[in-house]
Amino acid sequence: MRNDTDTSLVAPRTPHREDSVPPASEHPLPRTIIQPSRGWAPLNLRELSEYKGILYFLIWRDIKVRYKQTVIGVAWAVIQPLMTMGVLAVFFGHLAKVPSDGVPYPIFAFAGLVPWTFFAYGVTQSATSLISSGQLISKVYFPRLLVPTARVLGGTPDIALSFLFLLGLCWYYGLRPSPVAMLLVPAFFVLALVTSLAVGFWLSALSAKYRDIQHAVPFLVQLGLFATPIAYPSSLVPERWRVLYGLNPMAGVVEGVRWALLGTDNPLGIAMLISAAAALTLFFTGAFFFRRMERTFADVL
């Protein structure tokens, strides 16, 4: 007690001196106007780029934390699709004799699983990203779009690694994709990225307000696995339904990767464009929807 009685926390105050205020700085100070917003807000890409430091650290934190205290670390990025491939190869390829467009079934499945794993990871992570970052969101300002974006981008090292593994698998099965094809694969990965972000924006914004969404996400991802040609080729889908089938952007991604890398015929054809258009539409509507919901995040999280 006797050592503790002094709680005066501060040194005596020095009176505020007029001359201590620096002259108006040479460069004008940034001005921020705070007022209620109405209706649809612009995406404000300029602000997003101003905060790219935060995006970088959000991604870095996710990756870092994900592999802390893991024994095999990044090997998980390959093991996950590899195990799934094993199961699919046994049950669908070997037992059910599902056709695989003329390439060995394991590599057929793995080529689909690489972008799919990335998508599934991105969507599950980003859908709950706002809820799990609630503490941060209610204490500091930055564009909230960065939260789901960072979670999706956090999966890129994994897809890069499993892609390398896929190349190894190609070599093992004696497939020699042309360099041009190799350059096309990243384009399809970008489409997968856009799709993941699009779905991530929608689901994260919705789940901030309606917590039901987070229960629905694993289930939706599972449904997506069946609605995407991973275990089976989309050539199984009747021709007249393929345009509709193409509305699933991931169908376009998976068939695209196989076409570029494994040299399969692309049975989707024109539906590929539909996939791309669907992804972009989802992406932009998702981003605007997110921006609209954004203003209430700090109050509902």
Partner: protein
Amino acid sequence: MTDSAICVENLGKRYKIPAQRPSTQPMLRDALTDAVRNAFDRFRILGRRASVSARPRHTHVWALRDVSFNVPRGQILGIVGPNGAGKSTLLKILSRITEPTEGRAEIRGRVASLLEVGTGFHPELTGRENVYLSGTFLGMKRAEIDRKFDEIIDFSGVATFIETPVKHYSSGMYVRLAFAVAAHLDPDILIIDEVLAVGDVAFQRKCLAKMEDVGRRGRTVLFVSHNMTAVTRLCERAILVAEGRIQKDGAASDVVSAYLLSSLSTTARRAWPDPGTAPGTDVARLRSVRVRTEEGTTADVVDIRRPVGLEIVFDVLQPGHILVPAFSLFTESAIVAFTTIDLDPEWRQRSRPVGRFVSTAWVPGNLLAEGTLLVSVGLAVHSPPVSHFFEANVVAFQVVDINEGDSARGDWDGNVRGVVRPLLQWTTELQLVPPDTELSPDPLLGARKYPQS
């Protein structure tokens, strides 16, 4: 006001609170049923059946209303008020975390907000990693963190553990590191919520000193605190927010004393009805503190001439400890008037049995000066020293002088300086000599002057 850093006009924030099931999350199901119900209501109106259906599904609460003020560049503005008054909402709006419902604010300059300790900290990451993470979230550029890194670590005093995940840190170390980052921010405007309430006293003092430094360099600071000491020391101006509105705006000392005297602030009695949350340890818990008169009534205003009792009620839960309560009295400008330690011979050097103890320290009349006094209370074992609780500023009371001529101010009704105002005995002797006679030698001085001769 061309040189204002923050300009707030009629700011208001309304929260929607679900009327039927408070404290639950809105579910998609509700949105759907609401939509159906609304459509149905509309249909009924069309069908000319007067719809009284609308039992309100939400109630609206204004957390903040009609708030306007201006902060000139370089000013340190304190924001005081009771819990739930809207202070934090105001800071959140100005930090752009949440949007206002009405009104407008204009901010000129780079803003950094400290609304919690360790913004962006992640327990799994090391101290070093968290410095970068937190610094970035608080608005520092990477190069800036690189440059200040050594200084930050130095300030925090946790250099040895900088490569250890912060989940292994003690709470003290965690807070130190978090503040070290915050203290090195270099924004034009700094917004600080009640974050200094944690951490040990020495480190708090260090942070506040650093903040004062910040203020002196022309930074604008908005500072919410329940620590009136800090507010009066740090801020030249303060606003009092209560019930979502600004109740008073002016010199910090005026606003603080207005707040302390209003029924909004600490009162003359404070009790902890729930033993589980009462301050204390397994040995003893604080139950209540009050300011009382000789008649036994609780008083928040006392006559300067009358004794005033400081009463503490505490429960002893474990026998065998020599427990000593003590009080410290602070003036509103945070000067310690005095500390008093229990010397009751009955319990001095004697271990206490389990039970409830009520101890009262009597402050004599004509000791304290006029003004508001804040009482801190503690209970400790003196050897070896163990503090069982220490609560700062638990109760407050005001000492008033009604100028009847028998107090220490006599007939003077101007300002009387000093923390204490004892009524001292004065004696006078009228010497029967002419006024310009030489002074008679001081007897004592005389004795010293010629000791050896």
